[in-house]
Amino acid sequence: MDQTGCCDALPRMPRIGEPAPSFEAETTQGDLRLEDYAGSWLVLFSHPADFTPVCTTEFLAFARLYPTFQENGCELLGLSTDSVYSHIAWVRNIEAVFGVRIAFPIVADAGREVARAYGMIMPAESSTEAVRTVFVIDDRQIVRAVLSYPMTTGRNVDEILRLVQALRATDKHGVATPAGWLPGDKAIVAPPRTQEMAEERIKAGDPDCRDWYFCLRTPG
């Protein structure tokens, strides 16, 4: 037994660039596998527990932006270690109290198989509940971004959407995106790799190049 009281060694969290761990899990919309999402982007996000206020605000925010995620070729999949009956009761309560329908599925990971595979259990925070993690998984089922938040702090879902949009712009246009980038903004062109190319850039006098290594352009 380790210092946290947790008896089992926990797998490490999947890292950016690695294949997302496969799973098959019971959800509020039936059994789903990671492979069911192949060809689509996926935001897999965990929350500590149903019927808690911070998680409820997050679900309201995810539900509000779900159509926009879908317009961006991205699906949402929630997860906690609660039972499917708890999930059903909670989404019904959210609809009754807040008038918001939760249209995306939620994994009932009572056995913690998925939470362990994704390193969502952080024993120093809780040995039984998943913390607030977010995995952005691309259409080839590769992990492209990972976020972790503590129990007490709700996530910014607009930022998660922006992250998906930025990653998709990178894939589509071969650009990087600057701080706070939003669709429609100029993106960063890869810096030159040789002195000669750097000098060419300077000579070209492009007003969107502030210096040889810092050039912007509109993607597309």
């Binding site: 919309q29 039936g30 059994d31 789903l32 596998r33 492979e35 069911d36 999402y37 060809g39 689509s40 879908q70 699906e75």
Partner: protein, 73 residues
Amino acid sequence: MACVKPNGELTPAALEVLVRIASSATDKEVADAVARPVHQARAILRELIKADMAARDGELYRITPTGRARIGG
């Protein structure tokens, strides 16, 4: 199974999918026809296969005699 009710009846979504594959279709075509995300169509098709109401030939899904009997076709 999520698309088969405890009394053995199919859910409305499963019935829609079964009707669509009466003439064979890919998972994306099924999803478009029933206006649901592809992951949901794939999950329902998998359960229909388990229930012997659908079968898969490569990319195409088709209804089986058991499935056809269920929709009365």
